[in-house]
């Protein structure tokens, strides 16, 4: 029931907000809803850490005869993803509080709907329901972009929607095919999928279908071209959700489906997958060096980090996967912070062109410190969250192949190059016309940034809890993998 209520709370608030007339207290209701959800997830977390896991299993009787029962469960991986989602959502809502351009109730309703869909994706143990939630996440983000977005918002939204739907449809075909293979009355339950003994050929086909869906979502090179565009068109809240959580669904999918379902197919092709990810890391890091728009730079940087996470997961080593999961959390936090810093600058200067911004550090020293910390976490400085994750990932890749690890490791150099260049241009130097009277960040803005910074140091200095939650999950996964490979 606890798990179900995690889905119900945002859903109820979504409905309430859709029905409410536009008023000043709408945003507060939305914030309250998200905070309530966060409190609930912390309660779940405490239960998870100290009590039996089975409490989180939820099974409804609907459509049982078709094998489409609505069933949920929380394991280590789900738990971390849920915490990431519920932690970021209130901050994203708070980031939208803005007197100059107030948002209608529908805006907040869509955000909460998205949160609900994410929780659904991360908890569903019925694959059909997983698929439904997976595509449900697209609806709010598309509306957010199409209505509140920037230049070319409609065209870009349509491209994004079609692109990701192509991937999901391939996944749907694979899901239905696997469903027909399940014994007896057939079932969409993920555990009956895990129980299947697929031959090599089937695994390859299923692996390809799933891989396309997740590669587009993560996104892996060369399926990434929708991402920088969507980021530039999307409102900040959309970008925060997109880069902070939605891309991570791809990594979640890799761990949930490809590794346990198609180990043989994966076993013969991990090398190519790691190489593809590493190429993507280099590609996006190098492109980021010469970006002129702040938001595109962040988008390409985020692309590089996602490639690194994927490479860690594909290395199929304990360190690589554990680091990948931790980095999913860390990067979600960091990239949300980066986009919010962009938002702060954009709202004050009305421009995102790096060349026309400068000298902010002398106008807003507190902001420059926040930005610097988030930036350092992004370039994986020790004692920030980015370091622990990327260290473990690179170590995992190193165990798999030392040369690839060295090449992937170039990201720490390139990251420093483009991030410091960007920071120098916009924060240091003399002020420009756009930044002449750049106000210091407000209390509300620092309320968004402070929790992010706290998490950056928490995970960076004392990551024990997060590693501890993920550890049994990774162990089980690798045991299943070795068992199936035999």
């Amino acid at each position: 029931m606890l798990t179900l209520s995690l889905i119900l709370v945002p859903l109820i608030f979504t409905i309430v907000l859709f029905l409410l007339p536009d008023s000043k207290c709408v945003k507060h209701i939305a914030l309250f809803g998200a905070l309530l959800e966060f409190a609930l997830s912390v309660f779940v977390l405490i239960n998870f850490l100290y009590y039996c896991h089975c409490v989180f299993n939820y099974n409804s009787q609907f459509f049982q005869h078709l094998g489409i029962s609505f069933s949920l469960n929380i394991d280590g991986l789900s738990m971390l993803m849920i915490i990431l989602t519920t932690f970021l959502s209130p901050l994203i809502i708070l980031s939208a509080f803005n007197k100059s351009s107030p948002k209608p109730p529908a805006f907040y309703a869509l955000i909460l709907l998205m949160e609900m869909a994410f929780i659904g994706v991360f908890t569903a143990t019925n694959v059909l329901w997983f698929y439904i939630f997976w595509d449900l996440t697209l609806i709010p983000i598309c509306f957010l972009t199409a209505i509140w977005g920037g230049k070319n918002k409609r065209v870009i939204t349509v491209e994004f929607l079609i692109y990701t739907l192509v991937g999901s449809l391939l996944m749907l075909i694979a899901i239905i095919y696997l469903y027909t293979l399940t014994p007896g009355n057939h079932s969409f339950n993920i555990y009956s999928f895990y129980g299947l003994h697929l031959d090599y050929k089937t695994q390859v086909l299923a692996c390809l279908a799933f891989f396309m869906a997740f590669a587009i979502k993560i996104p892996l090179f060369p399926f990434h071209s929708w991402l920088p565009k969507t980021h530039t068109a999307s409102p900040t809240q959309g970008s925060m959700f997109l880069a902070g959580i939605m891309l991570k669904m791809g990594i979640y999918g890799l761990l949930r489906f490809i590794i346990p379902l198609c180990p043989l197919a994966l076993g013969s092709s991990t090398f190519y997958a790691v190489v593809l990810s590493v190429v993507g890391i280099l590609y996006s890091s190098i492109i980021a060096i010469k970006q002129t728009e702040l938001k595109r730079l962040i988008a390409f940087s985020s692309l590089g980090h996602m490639g690194l996470i994927a490479a860690g997961v594909f290395s199929l080593t304990f360190n690589g996967i554990e680091g990948g999961i931790l980095q999913v959390i860390s990067h979600g936090i960091n990239v949300a912070g980066m986009f919010y810093c962009y938002d702060i600058i954009y709202r004050r200067t009305k421009t995102g062109t790096i060349a026309s911004i400068g000298g902010i550090a002398s106008k807003a020293p507190i902001f420059s410190v926040f930005f610097m910390i988030i930036l350092l976490a992004n370039i994986a400085l020790p004692l920030t969250n980015g370091f622990v994750g990327e260290f473990l990932i690179l170590m995992g890749i190193f165990e798999y192949n030392a040369y690839l690890s060295a090449i992937a490791g170039l990201t720490i150099i390139f990251g420093a190059i483009y991030m410091l260049w960007m920071y120098q241009r916009i924060m240091y130097g003399e002020t420009t016309e756009a930044t002449q009277d750049f106000p210091e960040i407000s209390l509300r803005e620092s309320l968004v940034l402070s929790p992010l910074v706290i998490m950056i140091f928490w995970i960076g200095i004392y990551p024990k809890m997060f590693l501890h939650i993920a550890e049994p999950y990774v162990r089980d996964l690798l045991e299943v993998l070795t068992y199936k490979l035999k």
């Binding site: 990434h224 980021a288 690890s405 410091l420 501890h468 162990r475």
Partner: protein, 633 residues
């Protein structure tokens, strides 16, 4: 010894206190707080040092598990043995003096509070680097000091030249750090742990020349190249002089840049197992020392001369490591920390007196105007040049003596490096302090002596530069090489590996080896005195023609331009290429083509849907017939 963790905590606390109140603290308040925290660390370090000195034991204190799952276990723990206790004394002692000096030097700067918060943060990270008991904690400090160096080089962030220098320092360090990181991975792969104690314990049974160890040590050394400014990663250090002078003294002379030397000394067993790596280190050390020394002779910026001198001295230390005298390298590291910090502080005092002038051609005749600064600068110069009985003489002698064991030729090269030192240092001394004030100089400037908060730290450092040699008086003068004996437990295993049969040099040869350099140095001093003071020669202006070698050296052998041509430009070009061609012309075009094909297919097939029932019926019948016919075959 449970209070050890307080040592790094003081400066961290100071950093947080100043950083969180940076708008509230007025006057010198922040500087006093920052100095107090470093002094507290110094007091505790002294206690630790005394403890280690007396008990001759090493202590390990574990705070908590940092990264711990599966087989990986990295704890947040500190190791205090002879080596780290010695480094602690240098970092906190010299660090404290430079903090005090900075109170006077930075007075009135708008970023006064910010400056001291960064300085305290730096000391914190440097202490982590030195105290960590495993390679990952060292790496925290390693990257952390790099960050502080970045922040402090670009301290006056309105100037983009300074920012570029800061960025360059960070990125070049990062290149080294990647090598270091790979070394760490390989260490873990080989030993299954990152703790010094376990690794060194396990490596004792390995044979000399183990390939894995060679690769590991080389990778770790790449990190040292970045941090300690060795060829090919040294060009950032001269640029780093953009930072305030106390920063150059603390970070880019006394402490941070010696981290590479410390790292190699710390991993001495691994390095002793790999003669090939030691050879590489010696060669790179020599090459760097000669190149930087040659450049230093032709520079005209007082801080640049000192910066290249630092690079050269670091190369000398690596030469010492390369020939296996770890204690010699650590000894020179210590004395160098004293006199190089002193020289930088004195240079800062000169710059302060001349209101920011750094070009030595516009100085001259400062001897009488700022006598205290002159005196300490003189002491620093004598010490670094190796004039007995100042500290530099003893530390250089220890290294030269060990180099002599490795070969006569190597000794000659090392001697040339040592002599180069006196060339550029006395050239600097004579141009700045002797002669007449240059005609270029702004006549409105009246040089004035620095305040007490600046002169007293300099005097203490001058005192240390004179007496620092006492730690390592060779047996021939009735000393007992105290420093070698003190550090012996740390280097015991590697000494046993490297020196199977200690060669004894006859006393008269040893004495000769000491006297020859000293005589040569005096000859050089006289020649320089004649050239710069008697003849009143000055380094040529920008416009004047220079000789080929002089031009090359003055322009740092065009290394920056070469790097720019080889890496920076092609990198930028490649980035644009990927963006404009691959991303927009290929990937994006392809995706929209796919989209267009779908649209086109839809449009084309739409014509089939005519709405004519007769056509549909016709199509149905044809299809059924086709299916039947196909089934027949």
């Amino acid at each position: 010894m449970n209070y050890i963790w307080l040592i790094p905590l003081f400066p961290l606390f100071g950093f947080l206190l100043i950083a969180l109140n940076f708008k509230r603290f007025k006057g010198s308040y922040a500087g006093i707080i920052a100095s107090t925290t470093v002094f507290s660390s110094f007091v505790f370090s002294a206690i630790v040092f005394a403890n280690v000195l007396i008990t001759k034991q090493a202590y390990t204190i574990e705070l908590f598990q940092w990264i711990h799952f599966n087989t990986l276990s990295v704890s947040f723990s500190f190791l205090l043995d002879q080596l780290s206790a010695m480094m602690l004394m240098i970092v906190t002692g010299v660090g404290f003096l430079i903090h005090v000096y900075s109170i006077g030097y930075m007075k009135g700067d708008k970023g006064f509070n910010r400056f001291f918060s960064y300085m305290n943060l730096f000391v914190f990270f440097m202490l982590m680097l030195v105290m960590g008991s495993n390679y990952l904690i060292m790496f925290i400090g390693w990257e952390g000091v790099g960050l502080c160096s970045y922040l402090l080089i670009g301290f006056w962030f309105k100037n983009h030249n300074f920012n570029n220098a800061a960025k360059k320092a960070f990125i070049m360090n990062r290149i080294g750090d990647l090598g270091f990181l790979m070394g760490i991975f390989m260490l873990f792969g080989r030993f299954g742990t990152l703790h010094y104690a376990d690794i060194f314990e396990q490596s004792q049974v390995l044979s000399v020349g183990d390939t894995n160890i060679t690769i590991i040590t080389l990778l770790l050394f790449i990190g040292a190249m970045g941090k300690s400014a060795q060829i090919p990663l040294f060009t950032w250090l001269p640029d780093a002089m953009a930072g305030p002078t106390p920063v150059s003294a603390l970070i880019h002379a006394a402490t941070m840049v010696t981290a590479g030397v410390y790292m190699v000394a710390r991993s001495n067993i691994l390095y002793a197992l790999s003669p090939f790596t030691l050879l590489v280190i010696a060669i790179i050390g020599i090459a760097t020392a000669l190149l930087a020394g040659a450049i230093a002779v032709f520079q005209t910026d007082i801080k640049k001369v000192l910066a290249y001198s630092t690079v050269s001295q670091l190369g000398f230390m690596f030469l010492a490591l390369g020939v296996g005298t770890f204690s010699g390298a650590m000894f020179h590291l210590t004395t160098h920390a004293f006199f190089k910090a002193l020289l930088f502080l004195a240079a800062g005092s000169v710059i302060h007196a001349l209101h920011g002038e750094q070009d030595i051609r516009k100085m001259g005749g400062l001897r009488k105007k700022i006598p205290i600064t002159f005196l300490v600068f003189l002491i620093g110069t004598l010490a670094i040049s190796g004039i007995p009985p100042l500290s530099g003489f003893f530390s250089k002698d220890m290294i030269l003596m060990n180099v002599f064991h490795s070969g006569m030729l190597l000794w000659v090269v090392a001697l040339i490096i040592a002599l180069l030192t006196s060339v550029y240092m006395f050239r600097l001394l004579f141009i700045v302090f002797w002669g007449q004030p240059s005609p270029h100089a702004d006549s409105t400037i009246h040089p004035h002596e620095s305040p007490k908060s600046m002169t007293i730290p300099m005097m203490i450092l001058a005192f240390l530069s004179i007496l620092g040699g006492l730690f390592g008086i060779p047996e021939i003068f009735g000393g007992n090489e105290a420093i070698s004996n003190y550090l012996a437990p740390v280097f015991a295993k590697s000494t046993a590996l490297l020196i199977q049969n200690p060669h004894e040099v006859a006393a008269n040869i040893e004495l000769l080896l000491m006297i020859v350099p000293v005589i040569l140095i005096f000859v050089i001093i006289y020649a320089l005195y004649y050239y710069f003071v008697k003849r009143k020669n000055l380094p040529p202006d920008e416009m004047q023609k220079r000789g080929l070698f002089s031009k090359m050296a003055y322009n740092k052998f065009y290394l920056d331009e070469i790097y720019d041509f080889l890496f920076v430009k092609p990198g930028a070009w490649f980035s644009v290429f990927l963006q404009e061609i691959v991303e927009l012309k290929i990937i994006d075009k392809f995706i929209s083509k796919v989209g267009q094909v779908v649209v086109w297919t839809g449009k084309t097939i739409r014509y089939v849907q005519t709405g004519n029932v007769g056509f549909y019926l016709f199509a149905m019948v044809i299809s059924i017939i086709l299916i039947l016919v196909l089934n027949l075959f």
